[in-house]
Amino acid sequence: MKVSLFTTCLGELFYVDVLKDTTEVLERLGCEVDVPEGQICCGQPSYNSGYKKESIGPAKHMIETFENADYIVSPSGSCTSMFREYPKIFADEPEWAERAKRIAEKTYEFTSFIVNVLGVEDVGAEFHARVTLHTSCHMTRLLGERDSHYRLLSHVKGLELVKLPNNYDCCGFGGTFSVKMTPISEQMVDEKIRHIEETKAEVLVGADASCLMNIGGRMRRLGKPVKVMHIAQILNSHQEEEAAHHANESRKSTVL
């Protein structure tokens, strides 16, 4: 199965490890991965801030770049949901709306793709830790993907999954919201961290790097010992030593 990886700008800028793990997991599951060279940002930051005109160029460019892909897969619920929004952006340009629709239909979030398209729940990973999961807003409410990540984690050997209280509440990222409404955003992330601590988890896992950057960045500032990992990193872990190494490595190399 041919998969074109939609890397996301946050991924390329901060989380190269996550992209590597995403690639390797997909390849291990038999996918032929390619990385379309022309890809850039999906335009979500400007679109959500009200700058629609400024978002149309990036959106058209992304449509052209990914048009020939069989499947488009991204390790981010949020960026995936932006691709799914594209048809709405082009309400006034029917031809582009049609092209946008075709893109939207073949775009999948990473965990959703593994479970719903590849039909795999056990990727053969092993990771020994007490883990809690942050289910992001765009993943659950905009994409309607509510359980792929749970299913995948439930098959990871050695992993103890603890439910995060109030998991439905936003972590306070919200793109430009985090810098425009900083005081409110900080209250939201602090409550999220209180809930994470209640679970006594060693690792917080999520499938959206943006939320993890927010929660992880705040935890790091507050000196909290909880490790923050992207689900691709967990799914690409094979044995205890390597997993521990993996977690430490990413902890050091990024705020994740």
Partner: protein
């Protein structure tokens, strides 16, 4: 100014709210409680069937009614008048105030009792009548508490959600109350005080949950029974309704009352659902002798036929407030509008303009919890984005720096060359700021982020270079995408 709550600029209001941990705790625990109740009464109630189907029905009814609003308003008006009632269409807040004032003056009324109504808050009716020398009494328990305490509602359905019983006791002490903070005792005191007033009321004023066009009736959905007192003691009744709050017939009313009760407070049905019509007809034995219906536009028609029309679908259940993480942390007063929360952030700029309420659409992380909770499927978070579009296109005053940055983004984000160059340069430019793998003090646009959070250091490794090597190791030639979208081997 009508609609306005408090006089603090938005961010000062937010700071004040955040530092009030007492209020924040009251609001968040109310949210958690209401969420549980709502889930039980909606998706968790098997007797109801598919909740999503109910929502779709609610949406369809509201959209249909709005699309034929002129027809049904005429029908409502004709039927209400045919039963002997008086209908007045108020285009502005002032017109609504003036009409009510005129009625009150003509009756030489001094004692006015009110049941809970958001639209009368919106048009500052109490202030207008008090200026006439009237004694206006809020008879809904929560509204009564706020009135005694000179406070304003912070929630559409549970107006005193920011107070607990200790605060209620403190408020009642202003009326000479000396009892405990036991809810039963507090309620008994309120009841005694209110009953006295009901007996001497000249005019009763209510809001309107729904008006039924084909019978000319007004439907009030309440739990305390005070609205029934307000509408049965005084000889004169004035009902104030937002112009969009009507349904074609009782068949649609059934669906909307079901959605309202279950979504707002998690009840299958509230204690009272009261439908009243003007009294001088043969089959009515009691009720007000002189019944006035004031239908208020006050900016609503500005949304009709526009991309903001879905905002008028709202049935004021406050389900969106009850799930909003922003409302959870700042409460209602910080919004500075009588309509707070997600629906408030959508409605307030429509009714009160961007100058006053233009920041509210930004007070959302676009998490879409509101959209998911709305029983009539208003795409709330999408409407917030549409407001932002208006704001930056000239309705408001976005910062110049932001405008320039977004323009630059619009150019940079469609150029793969600039994008790749940026990805390569970032680790080099930001290197001086990186300490121990992250940035804790960022300049310029990074400053608000690093106020309370660390920013990761850009990855030193370049993913695309890694990927090329990775493919070469695996024996796959790296592919590239050509201008026409086709793939070929990278050179």
């Amino acid at each position: 100014m009508p609609m306005k709550v408090g006089n603090l600029p938005f961010f000062e209001g937010v700071d004040k709210a955040i530092s009030n941990t007492y209020m924040v705790n009251a609001v968040s625990s109310a949210q958690d409680g209401l969420r549980e109740k709502k889930l039980k009464a909606t998706v968790g109630d098997e007797t109801l069937g598919d909740w999503e189907e109910w929502r779709r029905a609610g949406e369809e009814i509201r959209q249909f009614t709005l699309n034929h609003l002129d027809y049904y308003l005429k029908q409502l008006s004709d039927n209400f008048a045919a039963r002997g009632g008086h209908v007045y269409f108020a285009q502005t807040v002032e017109e609504a105030q003036n009409y009510v004032r005129k009625i009150v003056r003509s009756k030489n009324a001094k004692n006015i009792v009110k049941s809970k109504s958001m639209v009368t808050e919106e048009i500052s009716l109490n202030e207008a009548l008090e200026a006439e020398g009237c004694d206006v009494l809020e008879t809904d328990l929560a509204e009564f508490i706020l009135q005694v305490d000179k406070d304003r509602p912070s929630h559409i359905v549970v107006p005193s959600v920011h107070k607990d019983r200790r605060k209620v006791r403190e408020a009642f002490q202003k009326l000479g109350y000396s009892g405990s903070d036991e809810p039963k005792e507090l309620a008994a005191f309120a009841r005694k005080t209110l009953r006295e007033k009901f007996l001497h009321a000249d005019v009763g004023i209510t809001g309107c949950n729904f008006a039924v066009a084909d019978t000319g009736s007004i439907c009030l959905v309440t739990n305390e029974g005070n609205a029934n007192m307000v509408t049965s003691y005084p000889e004169t009744q004035i009902t104030v309704m937002g112009m969009e709050r009507l349904v074609p017939s009782w068949k649609e009313l059934d669906v909307l009352v079901t959605l309202l009760c279950r979504s707002s407070v998690g009840q299958r049905l509230t204690t009272y659902v009261t439908d009243i019509t003007p009294a001088d007809q043969t089959d009515t034995v009691d009720g007000p002798k002189d019944f006035h219906l004031v239908i208020v536009d006050a900016g609503r028609s500005r949304a009709l036929g526009t991309e903001f029309q879905p905002a008028l679908q709202c049935i004021r259940c406050a389900a969106c407030l009850n799930v909003c993480p922003v409302y959870r942390h700042i409460g209602g007063h910080a919004y500075g509008s009588i309509y707070p929360g997600p629906i408030g952030a959508v409605l307030s700029p429509i009714l009160g303009g961007y100058k006053e309420y233009g920041k509210l659409p930004y007070a959302s992380s676009l998490c879409a919890a509101c959209t998911e909770a709305c029983p009539v499927r208003i795409p709330l978070h999408e409407l917030l984005i549409k407001h932002r579009q208006k704001y930056v296109a000239g309705a408001g005053h976005p910062q110049t720096g932001e405008k320039i940055a977004m323009k630059a983004f619009g150019i940079g984000a469609k150029s793969p060359f600039l994008f790749k160059a940026g990805m390569k340069m970032a680790p080099i430019f930001l290197k001086p700021l990186v300490h121990d793998g992250s940035i804790s003090k960022g300049p310029g646009p990074m400053k608000p982020w690093t106020h309370g959070r660390d920013l990761p250091a850009p990855s030193k490794e370049n993913f695309r270079e890694w990927f090329k090597k990775h493919q070469a190791e695996a024996g796959n030639p790296p592919t590239t995408v050509n201008a026409d979208g086709s793939r070929s081997e990278a050179k």
